[in-house]
Amino acid sequence: MRKHIFIACLALAALIVSTPSAQADNYALIVSAGEATTDDAATNSCFWYNPLLIYQSLLTLDFDHDSIVCCYGSGSNFNSSYACYQVPWTMADYSVSRANIQAAINDLAAVMTSSDFLYVWWMGHGSPSGSDLSLYLETTGEYCYDYEIESWLSAVPYQTRVVSWMTCYSGGILDNLENGSSVVMSSATFYESTYDEWLCDTYHAEFHYPERCAVAWETPCGICGAVDADTDGSGRVSVAETFTYADANTVNSDPQISDIGNIASSTYLGTPLLSIGFPDGLPDLLPPGVPYDITVRITEGEESLVPGTAAWSYRDNGGFYQTEALTSLGGDLYQATLPALACTDTPEFYFTAEGTLSGVIHHPADAPTEVNTVGIGVFQVFFEETMDSNPGWTTEGQWAWGTPTGGGGQYGNPDPTSGHTGSNVYGYNLSGDYANNMSETHLTTGPIDCTGREQVTLSFWRWLGVETPYYDHAYLRVSTNGSSWTTIWENSGETTDSEWNEIVYDISAIADGQPTLYLRWTQGTTDGSWQYCGWNIDDVRLSAFECEDTPPTDTVEVAIGCTPNSGQLPFTTQMAVSLTNLTSENRRAAGRIDMVIANGTPYGNWRAGWTNLSAGEVFSTFWNQNLPGLATLVGTNVFTLTGADVTPAPYNQPPFAPSGDTDTDSCTVTATAP
């Protein structure tokens, strides 16, 4: 049964039941007015990829197939060769035509109420028609107009509406759909074209792609990693944050937003329930030996936090998770503290809170299957050329070290007049543009020793002008033998830098552990016309991940006393321990009993409690230690009670191995067997 028939049935049911105060539901209209006919093709493939991506994202946001009405191309799924752009269900309820778009809108009008949420998403061709926006429907050759969309949508009741529109001249839709209950976003002004670009894995609609990434918190297909558009750390991405992220990642046009009711920052796709966020983010990398405070924000939406349920679970190097309550910082903020960690540690943690409607929620959402981790170590620069003096690299053609003169710029921009730092750079023709009809011309470093280096990363500052690769070329390549080269980057479009830009590449797959690494910047080939300023590079650095446990810098003083220090077994002695001079790390105090009983048998036993100590904290405590009335004891026995400061260890799991600067103190107890 097609979904729109089902929706019509829903409408009928709604009429029969006639429940006026139904809970707000989420609905969406998705229209992709083009049609994909092949993968990886410009201004083609994205007409399938992007509606599918937003459709899938909505399914994770309290929408379902029956609440999304989709018009796509001729109505059939595009048979992508990529698994992640295939779905077993039919995405389109309708093919795209004027009549079908109206039918889709009518479906929504039949089931929606004035308490519902409506999301309208459109992509396709657009063009100006006087002061109106004309929308082209590729599969039928029909047109419809912005005022018609306005009229058709006026039949759909809603409480809040979010419109995301990507066509050329899409700014023209704003005045048609804006009102105090709507946020209307467009990919461009009414005076601009809009574009698709190769983004991450293939061609994507340049505005809709980051919009979807923001909503989904990730790039598609698990290829280009996570996306965090949650600038206020609320744990949810508002429409305003979505737009900000999409705007920042749209380079070929100037996205617009209409938010008359000032609701974008408090409007979300999907029902806002309890959420866990991190105003300061979560760390990816921490230096060893330093504790780290994580600020947690638990935001209540249409449900409340069950008091006392904000918690986090932590473990290191496997084992069982310890769950502790988060420390309240007031309001919706809480704190968890990662202990000082060593290089070999593998901390894992997740957060939980219980909502009055949704039950226990986790961060990450599928914890503990997926958990947060953090690397222990730092990136250290092990190779650096600031170009203040001539590095003496191998040059060809007009590659030269020196001060650029600001010349050239027949097309694009001229060269800089100095380095990013200092005066000098390596550049191709420091006095002007590169030449026409060049062959590939290289600047090559000498060998760089990467032995023992891990996660090698290259960074440098670039000022580059080069024509589209249709005509001219610029490359960055690396090699481990100076003869076979791997291209790290090549120009994918026209590049016209007008300022220094820092460029960073992960070259670990090639460089890690290699005794020789060569870097090569290449100018050319070029064609017979249009010259640009070419490469200018400065401040070249290689860094690698390193971790070295630093010994504690504090000087711990441990004092222990045993009271009484003699008696007849069994009896109790009080072991008092104090630690002072803690200055820099999280430590624990422990007590230990060691004794040699009268028959010469060693006897050891961990006892006593322990506690976490923070830097600067003075610790003083005592334990009442029962000395055992062991049947084997005869005569006089000497117990040695030792107090020590130790590094953190799993709960109640001796031995507490001391590290770095430690101190111990002991007292003895003489015990006489009865």
């Binding site: 083009g34 049609e35 006919t37 092949t38 993968d39 990886d40 093709a41 410009a42 201004t43 083609n44 396709g124 061709h125 657009g126 063009s127 082209y136 590729e138 599969t139 039928t140 050759g141 066509t167 050329c168 001249y169 461009a188 002004t189 005076y191 601009e192 074209s193 809009t194 574009y195 698709d196 190769w198 061609y203 070929n252 046009s253 100037d254 026409n436 009809n437 690769p469 249709y470 005509y471 994918s492 479009g493 064609d527 017979g528 016309s529 249009w530």
Partner: protein
């Protein structure tokens, strides 16, 4: 014999039509199956120069530009031999067409169409390419073609990319069709219009075919190279120039009649 049949056999034109239908029906299945798939290379030869661009058909021969040397070449379609050539003072071209007995050249930088005679002399005034006036990223000139008394220009402007039917007398746009991909090369016959597009070197280029009457997409095929730069219809078949392979191809549209 019914009256209807009797009438039929007294009309020679209808009889001829019937004969043609029967003849087509009688074609061996193997002959139809031999129609090469769209995109099949039927013929190829090297393009002159190192930066070929544009492709045009003057009724007997092909024309192609070399942007590296600023030269226009007339090419024998039988073997690719250069019949004649001349240097031009025009800038880099994005498209080339032949119509009304003259060459039409779309110049990328100045975004004008110039008319040249077959010896390279300028004719008339330059005509501004019909590009949309937009803010932000500016549109670029694309391919060029001439058909049925009209110039067709390609506009490369993201999702506003179009093929435009232009009155050669005054440069006014009579009709615009949205394209898939970038219309960097155009060709037309009486029923179809093709645009070739590169995909920024990410995959092979593509040729898209649309109905000339309605502008609706009909079919597509991959080009032999990554950077198609010219298309031309010679009255019977489609020619394609590729910048990456520096080669001129005659390619099947998948619609050829097997003779």
């Amino acid at each position: 014999m019914s009256n209807a049949l009797s009438n039929l056999f007294h009309r020679p034109a209808l009889l001829a039509a019937l004969a043609v239908l029967l003849a087509v029906a009688a074609l061996p299945a193997a002959a139809l199956a031999d129609t090469p798939p769209a995109g099949t290379v039927l013929q190829q030869f090297p393009a002159p120069g190192t930066d070929p661009c544009g492709l045009a058909w003057d009724g007997e021969a092909l024309w192609i530009a070399d942007n590296a040397s600023g030269t226009l070449y007339r090419i024998d379609p039988a073997d690719g031999r250069v019949i004649s050539s001349f240097k031009t003072s025009e800038g880099r071209l994005s498209g080339l067409a032949f119509g009304m007995g003259r060459l039409w050249c779309a110049e990328a930088a100045s975004k004008v169409v110039r008319q040249l005679d077959t010896e390279g002399n300028r004719l008339g005034a330059a005509m501004a390419c019909p590009l949309p006036e937009v803010q932000g990223r500016q549109p670029e000139t694309g391919g060029l073609s001439f058909h049925d008394g009209h110039l067709w220009t390609g506009t490369v402007a993201g999702w506003s990319s179009t093929m435009n039917q232009v009155d050669p007398a005054d440069g006014k746009v009579k009709r615009s069709l949205f394209t898939k991909g970038y219309p960097v090369a155009l060709a037309l016959n009486d029923t179809h219009i093709w645009n070739a597009t590169h995909n920024d070197g990410r995959r092979l280029g593509l040729v898209y075919c649309y109905g000339l009457d309605d502008g609706l997409f009909v079919s597509q095929f991959d080009t032999p190279g990554f950077w198609p730069v010219g298309l031309a219809w010679d009255g019977n078949g489609l020619w394609l120039a590729d910048r990456e392979t520096r080669t001129i191809y005659r390619v099947s549209t998948g619609q050829e009649v097997v003779k």
